[in-house]
């Protein structure tokens, strides 16, 4: 069987029905294989970076694994930002890059780039396969590595002659990787120690990060928090792991979290960190926790425990399994006073500045959006003010998901990731929330969206500037602005229309609801541009 066909067949058997990519000289055999295998759909993007983001959105929406591919050289290097984005957020992904013929490697031939070397530091693992007979093993290892332990992207670089080679093949082999054996079961002794500390706690908190979602442990987290009466605080990546309408939900921590959330967590005497790497952003440069608090840190990646904080009970393993064990052994804690104290500190909603009738408040727009969307809708935010406003003004209740580039902070993520999400979860409502900066990074993906015909809403907040950077210039450079105001912004509605999308411009809060209704009623993609008061910042 031809190696290219084996690869596409392997995707099929792994349940990957859609692959995002861009063809070129070195990966053409894969496109011939895709042509022949009708069980795997290929989505042609406009820039390879978008293929990686789309695979990211696909993986997160369907809670499995995403796949993307590109040709050698510039195709591969264009993927890089998307691969690094997936790596920072621990998204399981397979990336296949074409490479120049194996006998030409190292000779600086046309479209040659060392993508394995380039992505060494932001793939979970990567391969350059020079021998066709290695392909079945490498594929089996790649799927296994990407999806087990702490998930992450795995890249396989394959020279064109290897893609065309023929080898005997029936199924992917069983594999054993001597140096890779992730711990999943939590250590029984540590679980006991943690429970002892927890039972003595007066002001316990669960600090829930993106690991809860990666481990598919949202149900277990809810069961544990409810059984123990412990309030839950989220990081940005953890949003959606705990229903915000629960009386136990506090808010979001971190640089752009709520001040009251930081106040509450600093008062906690026991913190259970569940699947968070305690990043600088989530912990306000590592200052969030009280030094007196007992800390239990659960993570599948042992290197995340003790990387930032040392004073803790480490628990390495799969959150889903560990939380199940904790639920079995927990007795409800007496936290009534603590919860009352929290209720007093916690206000209801962020303040909104008074808006005149000529602009839209993105905060109000998101609250209206929330009222109209299903309980399992997927909101894909970009990076910047839109990301923070969407984190703080859209309640993630039920099975709603919040997708964003939390770790790398990649502008341009939202539109292609949302397109990917529509393929990953075709029955769910998907909304891309994006600013006028982010959308311009990969605006041509409107073409990919149109081509998909998928029902999806783009909600663009246009303030004619790079609002978040400008906020930083406010606070860090005495409002001396530079390079943050566009001297020219295009007519986004016209652009959307040029891509064949129905589009509407909204200039007041009163019109937002109607536009959303129209988008929800459309049977394909729909584009809404909200003209935002440029002075409205994330927190004011």
């Amino acid at each position: 069987m031809r190696v290219a066909d084996i690869i596409i067949k392997a995707f099929e058997t792994q349940g990957i029905t859609t692959i995002f990519g861009y063809p070129g000289g070195a990966n053409l055999p894969l496109y011939d294989a895709l042509r022949l295998n009708t069980n795997v759909k290929h989505v042609l993007v406009r820039n390879e970076q978008a293929a990686a983001h789309a695979a990211n959105g696909y993986a997160r929406a369907n809670k499995k694994i995403g796949a993307c591919m590109a040709t050698s050289g510039p195709g591969a290097t264009n993927l890089i930002t998307g691969i690094a984005t997936a790596y920072m957020d621990s998204i399981p992904m397979i990336i296949i890059t074409g490479q120049v013929k194996s006998d030409l490697i190292g000779k600086d031939v046309f479209q040659e780039a060392d993508i394995v070397g380039a992505t060494e530091s932001f793939t979970k693992h990567n391969y350059l396969v020079k021998n066709p007979t290695e392909i079945p093993r490498v594929l089996a290892e790649a799927f296994y590595i990407a999806t087990t332990g702490r998930p992450g992207p795995v890249l396989i670089d394959i020279p064109r002659d290897v893609l065309e080679a023929r080898i005997p093949f029936s199924v992917l082999p069983n594999i054993s990787i001597p140096g890779y054996n992730p711990t999943t079961e939590g250590h029984a002794g540590q679980i006991k120690r943690a429970l002892q500390k927890l039972n003595a706690a007066k002001r316990p908190i669960i600090f829930a990060g993106g690991g809860v979602i990666a481990a598919k442990a949202t149900k277990e987290l809810q069961a544990f928090a409810n059984a123990a009466n412990i309030p839950v605080i989220n990081t940005l990546m953890g949003l959606g792991s705990f229903p915000m309408d629960s009386p136990l939900f506090i808010g979001m921590v971190g640089y752009h979290g709520q001040d009251y959330a930081m106040e509450i967590i600093s008062k906690a005497d026991f913190v259970l960190i569940a699947g968070s790497r305690m990043s600088d952003r989530a912990t306000l440069n590592f200052k969030a926790l009280s030094p007196q608090a007992d800390v239990v840190h659960i993570d599948i990646d042992p290197a995340e425990i003790g990387k930032i904080f040392n004073h803790q009970i480490p628990m390495v393993g799969d959150l889903k399994l560990i939380l199940k064990k904790l639920v079995e052994k927990i007795t409800p804690l007496e936290t009534k006073d603590w919860l009352e104290e929290i209720a007093q500190i916690k206000p209801k909603l962020d303040p909104v500045i008074a808006n005149d009738s000529k602009t839209v408040s993105p905060k109000i727009a998101l609250r209206i959006l929330s009222e109209k969307l299903d309980n399992d809708a997927i909101l894909v935010a970009d990076v910047g003010q839109n990301q923070i406003i969407a984190a703080r003004n859209f309640p993630y209740n039920g099975n709603r998901m919040y997708l964003t580039s939390g770790g790398l902070g990649t502008m341009g993520y939202s539109l292609p990731a949302a397109i990917g999400a529509t393929y990953g979860a075709p029955d769910k409502q998907v909304v891309s929330v994006v600013g006028d900066g982010g959308i311009q990074m990969l605006i041509a993906e409107l073409g990919t969206l149109k081509q998909s015909g998928h029902k999806m809403m783009v909600m663009l907040f246009n303030n004619h500037r790079l609002g978040m950077v400008r906020e930083l210039q406010d606070t860090q450079f005495n409002s001396n602005y530079y390079a943050v105001d566009w001297e020219f912004t295009p007519d986004f509605v016209k652009i959307a229309e040029a891509y064949g999308l129905p589009a509407v411009r909204v200039t007041s809060n009163a019109e937002v609801g109607k536009a959303i209704d129209a988008a929800l009623a459309a049977d394909g993609p729909y584009f809404i541009e909200c003209m935002v008061d440029p002075e409205e910042n994330c927190l004011t």
Binding site: E120, L128, G179, A303, K307
Partner: protein, 160 residues
């Protein structure tokens, strides 16, 4: 926290690129490698590395954990003076005129070093030993004038 010299022995898969991954990890996370030796083991699919670094204990823990995350790293062992044997090979080319030649031979004999090349103006000596022996030897030889020095870095093996 105590900053000190630490030694680890690393079993890795003998694949192309594995050295780059390990060296890259140290660079990228700001850890300093003092020396690194690598060679095949009795199993040609597995290599053993000995890495020497100076760091505090928390950094050392992180380094070990980060190395463990690399798929091709099979096993990490810390080598300590009381549980391991450490050796380094050095080649040293010294200025050696008629007056100094016999002194150099004498010192070399004491350290059980081997003279491997002699010219009218230089002498090249080979020495194998642990850290104390190598530094002691270098201290004795330095006054004669070192023309060139090459050290392999330490390689180590656990006792027993």
């Amino acid at each position: 926290m105590v900053v000190q010299k630490r030694f680890i022995s690393l079993l890795v898969e003998n694949n192309a690129g594995v050295l780059s991954r390990i060296a890259g990890l140290f660079t990228r996370r700001g850890y300093n490698i003092e020396s690194l030796t690598v060679g095949e083991t009795e199993n040609p699919r597995i290599s053993r590395m000995t890495i020497v670094m100076t760091c505090d204990s928390a950094t050392f823990e992180q380094i070990k954990k980060q190395l463990n995350k690399l798929i091709e790293v099979i096993k990490i062992t810390e080598l300590k003076n009381d549980n391991a044997l450490m050796r380094e090979l050095i080649l040293i080319k010294l200025k050696a005129n008629d007056n100094d030649r016999s002194k150099l031979i004498e010192i070399s004999n004491i350290f059980r070093a081997k003279i491997i090349d002699v010219t009218m103006s230089t002498m090249t000596i080979e020495l194998t030993g642990d850290e104390i022996k190598v530094s002691g030897f270098l201290e004795m030889m330095r006054p004669f004038g070192i023309v060139e020095l090459i050290r392999t870095g330490f390689c180590g093996i656990e006792r027993g």
